[in-house]
């Protein structure tokens, strides 16, 4: 069973007492000197060259809100409020190009600035200072920890989202005519993308009942051994499903690379450019394309 009071996570015995008694006092102190401490913090951020992507106004607004939230979380100690605060901070800050080390850096700086001010306040009474720090440190560390973790989580979420978007965009299988598909490959092919591309192509062959597929690699900057082998596999797999493959757009560099690294492409049907590939495909399928206008007057 979890108690409603999050403070049960803190040190037992005297720690509890110290915390119950000292934390409000501490928070009051931080609230009272808000303007001064915030300014100290901001100047230390500047000294450390953090958050340079922000304008001074943005930084002032951001530091104020971070400061207030920090003190509030310190006061209530609620994990939920803390997580909410950290997520909110990440969401606001990531789109501005702020790096992980900066976020962790500013939170740690704030922790240090506040700790220094506590040293100053209690410098006459070492025993009391100890107790205050006992109350302050675990809470402050927990904030830093949670902020860092949630920032990384948010980062990963954004990356996953972008990867999904790229996946959807990257491998279109386009029907051009009945039983003829085009697969334009644009951008760098890694093995994950190549695998996905093959999968989509084979499913496309079944859905569109394709007999001929033109794979155009004009847009692929480079082809290495792995990708070349994958292309060969794709061609073989398509043939197993009854479709023949024409590869077009092999650049001079790629042609040289392939021959140099010794990939066996003898079974592959390659044609210089996409236009030639389409003409060949039409010939295989028995299409003849003619202009509608009668040009010679007969």
């Amino acid at each position: 069973m979890r108690m409603t009071d999050d403070r049960t996570e803190m040190l037992p015995g005297e720690g509890d007492l110290a915390r119950d008694h000292l934390l409000p006092q501490l928070v009051a102190h931080l609230r009272e000197h808000r303007a001064k401490l915030r300014e100290q913090w901001a100047s230390r951020i500047r000294d450390a060259h953090l958050l340079e992507a922000m304008t001074p106004q943005e930084m002032a607004a951001e530091t104020t809100s971070v400061y207030d939230n920090y003190v509030e979380v310190l006061e209530t100690g609620s994990v939920e409020a803390l997580q909410h605060y950290a997520r909110d901070l990440s969401e606001r800050i990531i789109p501005r190009g702020v790096e992980t080390h900066e976020v962790v850096g500013i939170v740690l700086l704030l922790r240090d600035v506040l700790a220094r001010s506590l040293f100053e306040k209690y410098e006459g009474d070492f025993g009391l200072l100890n107790e205050v720090l006992d109350a302050y440190e675990p809470a402050a560390n927990r904030i830093a920890n949670t902020v860092a973790v949630s920032f990384v989580d948010e980062h990963e979420r954004v990356i996953r989202q972008q990867q999904d978007a790229i996946k959807e965009l990257s491998t279109p299988v386009l029907p051009v005519r009945e039983r003829l598909l085009i697969l334009p490959i644009i951008g760098v092919l890694d093995s994950e993308r190549a695998r996905q591309l093959t999968e989509q192509l084979l499913n496309g062959i079944r859905t569109h009942r394709a007999k001929v597929v033109v794979i155009d690699i004009t847009g692929a900057p480079d082809v290495d051994q792995t990708v070349a082998n994958h292309l060969v596999q794709t061609v073989d797999a398509s043939r197993l499903m009854g479709a023949s493959v024409i590869i077009t757009g092999l650049s001079p560099t790629i042609a040289q690379t392939l021959v140099t690294i010794g990939v066996d492409l003898s079974k592959m049907n390659t044609i210089g450019d996409l236009q030639g590939g389409l003409e060949e495909a039409e010939r295989l399928l028995g299409y003849r394309v003619t202009r509608t206008e009668v040009t010679d007057g007969s």
């Binding site: 999968e199 084979l202 499913n203 797999a237 043939r239 197993l240 499903m241 009854g242």
Partner: protein, 133 residues
């Protein structure tokens, strides 16, 4: 040793034999299928054989070797073999494991296979009637 009911139905359609493999066959059933088919090619004087593997979600190396062997035997008995209905996943797995169908013709499905055979043998519709070799 291969007694009991045959697991692959071999249907006759004009000069073509259509064998649909409905379920994964173990090695002895595979051999039984091979024997049945090669025998029936002679019995019905078939010129074309279609092996439909659309229901299979795995084709292992023994199966693909048997299909290749079957195609070669059929050729020796005077019939062309087409394998139809290989599923996308199966095709990818076969290629990745380096076991293609060799020189055996493949087609998308039964209809395509029949079309291929009729083109090859010069028959208008792969129906009865002597083909022109």
């Amino acid at each position: 040793m291969n007694s009991g009911p045959a697991l692959v139905s071999i249907l006759r359609q004009g000069d073509t034999l259509v064998a649909s493999v409905h379920t994964a066959l173990d090695d002895s059933q595979m051999v039984r299928f091979q024997e049945d088919l090669v025998r029936q090619i002679g019995e019905y004087r078939a010129r074309g054989v279609i092996i439909d593997v659309a229901a299979l979600d795995v084709i292992d190396s023994f199966a693909s070797r048997t299909f290749r062997a079957l195609a070669e035997m059929a050729r020796l008995r005077g019939a062309v073999t087409v394998i139809v209905g290989i599923q996308p996943d199966v095709a990818m797995a076969m290629v990745r494991l380096g076991m293609g169908m060799g020189g055996v013709a493949t087609a998308l499905d039964l209809e395509e296979g029949l079309g291929y055979l009729s083109e090859l043998t010069g028959m208008p519709n792969a129906r009865s009637g002597r083909p022109h070799p």
